[in-house]
Symmetry: C2
């Protein structure tokens, strides 16, 4: 993309309404614009990142054997009356009536609707296991929306639902989700720690929240510092050999990640914390919730009559769980975890453009030609550069590139070109090296091999 | 995808509520399930097609230089009061109040919001031309939703908005949209004819609707039979050399497609029809509207103060147009245009899976191995086969494949394998040929070259 043809409305001033850094930087980098309280338009740069995250979520869910569907934004209140949640949900549910006076709502979650799909179409245990998921806009009418996309009212969320014959199978689905979520976050350059969370009125201890450590997090968390060293790279024979069908493998990975003490404040137990964790490893910090997995057994299947014929011919209510990733909120979390005082620093896996090209002297024949050539060479390799081809001063161009956070920048100027070199700069370290344009292209291609 | 692991709830009976063939086939093929009147869940097969269409629209809009954003589902009523449309819109607009009693609505279109984004961020003519678009769920509270996704209440739509300094530039944007839409439909295997349409209360004659001829269409259309022979293939030096920046080229293509008589009943003029079109070429038929382009000048920019500083330093209200493609409705239109009594026939550009693999004797060691090998070979080429690995009778497997309409099917059985052959069948023609598994893979790969 050539910047002269793009729509990148960066702001010079820091917007006064933004209290946390991710909100400030998303506004300043022209990623979002508030449309109403807690409701945002995604401008081109923001939408590109959102779409990248969406694709990563789809890829990892597909890899785990989960199947994508798309449920509607509006739901009928009737289904929610059947489960008993219509009255329970309170003011966070946005309700309305259509022109015929029928009660409708803007979906905050979809356990009822997906259970209705299931009971309408699945009748035999032979069709299990089954996990359906979607990525769709949701709405929760927060009383005080704040922190930009981190605590908005309208948000983009992946929600998945597993249907299994037995509790054991459903717990395997739970573990499968845990592993697929860890992979998802890792590809986004995020460390999200699964923490034992509160299961609320449903009971049981089969729920984990995934938290990204950040000072601006809404949750207080307690953990053994060893937990931050756990990585999928330490598991089995590497990521690509993960066998999502193996109950044993998934259980082993789940144990590996959930045996070390890590809890949110709702489930934190000071006695266990002190007895299990040596004092020097005890940590109290704040975290941003970016996902949650949940096994809730037959709560909805019994209430809504979602049964299958079991092997013995008798009807069995299915065991279910639901599992969510906050896709739009993740963008805020990534920025909270990866920025400096100049702006955003995108991890390579989610960056909106793979690299920036800065032309120090737009209009100079040689510099223009060199930039065009770099642009074509990168594009031909399937990479997407953002070429700042405006007639601006170098300082302004650098400031914009730093603000929007592309991980790599190629700087092209007449002086360097005389020596046959351009400059390649890493946004994260600030380190630069001079190399030939061809070598710069090769290096960028190597960096993104297996990512882009 | 292996069918044993997929969720493809095909129906044996024809659903009684479905009045037109696309609705019947989408229900029978397990593509959608009604969630409420005019509101559908997209099941896996339906969602896959929806996503393919969405990607084609994104690719063609990007090619035309238009920039993707994402605006929210819910909008504040205030913006619509500013343009004067809040009261005008009537009962098709779904309105609600949030917990603080603020008037909100489920967006039916986004002229106001995109104009608000524009006026908040663009102030100079130097930032023009600019075309922003999104693909987002919309809602129109139809009094009698029917025909499945063809006339639903919640629907998925691409809506684009151009901002230009002059009327001439805006008409170039209009032509650019016309050409990009023609390319989009062509890639979907559809012939959609641009027809002069009614511009409604706004006036002017700068609007065209794109219609797919079909007996079930909601609009009566009048045209010169020559118009169905017009094709992008006859234009210039081929599709890939289209220069969207050239006013002349775009105008020439627009003229080529819009000079032959083709009008909807609102603009049909019997006198012109009879004087311009020889009797043997006059056609009266029905059509499905799958898109519309519109130039409306400064209607919104003046009402909402969307001006830029012109070259002479004075403020100028921008010239705008809006342009829509009904993405979910297109699926109905494609099926109306491409089916037979056995089921759907997907054009290669939009098929949910590139080919089916039918194993005639599941459990037979050789047949299973041959199917696995075909599956791996196709997958390795980036193609997505649907392998019917269920223990079902061949007749049932064929019926399912015919119903869901994959354009190509490879049939594998012990008898053929003894002679080293499998059978490759074209869904459209019903013709089969025997060839080696390797040759079948090569042929499928050739068919999808440049498409998949």
């Amino acid at each position: 993309m050539r910047l002269s043809r793009y729509f990148l409305p960066v702001l010079k001033e820091t917007p006064s309404e933004a209290q946390i850094v991710s909100h400030r930087l998303m506004l300043r980098a022209g990623m979002i614009k508030q449309a109403a309280a807690g409701i945002y338009s995604w401008l081109p740069l923001g939408f590109k990142v959102l779409r990248k995250l969406e694709n990563i979520v789809h890829e990892e869910q597909t890899r785990a054997g989960h199947i994508a569907i798309q449920m509607p934004i509006l739901q009928s209140a009737d289904l929610w009356r059947e489960s008993g949640r219509y009255d329970d949900y309170g003011q966070e549910m946005l309700r309305m009536q259509d022109r015929h006076g029928r009660d409708m709502l803007y979906t905050p979650t979809a356990e009822e609707l997906v259970t209705d799909i299931f009971r309408g179409h699945v009748s035999s245990y032979k069709d299990l296991p089954l996990t359906l998921y979607q990525i769709q806009w949701k709405f929760r009418d927060e009383i005080r929306p704040r922190f930009g996309v981190m605590r908005g009212r309208e948000f983009y969320m992946k929600d998945g639902y597993n249907f299994d014959l037995t509790k054991e199978d459903a717990l395997h689905a739970y573990n499968r989700h845990l592993v697929s979520y860890l992979r998802t976050y890792e590809r986004m350059g995020l460390q999200a720690i699964p923490m034992r969370a509160d299961s609320g009125p449903i009971g049981g201890d089969n729920t984990h929240e995934f938290l990204v450590l950040a000072d601006t997090g809404e949750s207080e968390v307690f953990y053994d510092s060893d937990v931050v060293n756990l990585s999928l790279a330490n598991v089995g024979n590497g990521l690509d050999s993960l066998n999502y069908d193996s109950h044993e493998d998934m259980q082993a990975i789940a144990n590996f990640f959930t045996s070390t003490y890590a809890r949110t404040d709702e489930t934190h137990d000071p006695k266990i914390f002190e007895s299990q964790v040596p004092e020097e490893r005890r940590r109290v910090a704040r975290g941003i919730e970016v996902g949650q997995i949940f096994y809730f057994g037959t709560k909805y299947s019994e209430a809504m009559g979602a049964t299958v014929q079991g092997p013995d011919g008798k009807p069995v209510p299915v065991h279910m769980g639901s599992h969510g990733i906050g896709v739009s909120r993740l963008i805020g979390a990534i920025i909270e975890a990866s920025h400096d005082d100049k702006g955003i620093i995108w991890p390579e896996g989610v960056t909106p453009f793979h690299c920036g090209i800065v032309n120090l002297k737009q209009g100079d024949e040689e510099a223009d030609a060199a930039c065009d050539k770099l642009y074509s060479a990168l594009t031909a390799l399937g990479l997407e550069p953002l070429y700042d081809d405006r007639k601006e001063r170098a300082g302004g161009k650098f400031a914009t590139m730093d603000l929007i956070g592309l991980p790599w920048r190629i700087t092209v100027g007449p002086r360097g070109l005389k020596n046959g070199v351009v400059e390649l700069t890493c946004r994260r370290t600030g380190e630069s090296e001079e190399l030939s344009p061809e070598a710069a292209v090769t290096k960028i291609a190597e960096i993104y091999e297996g990512i882009a």
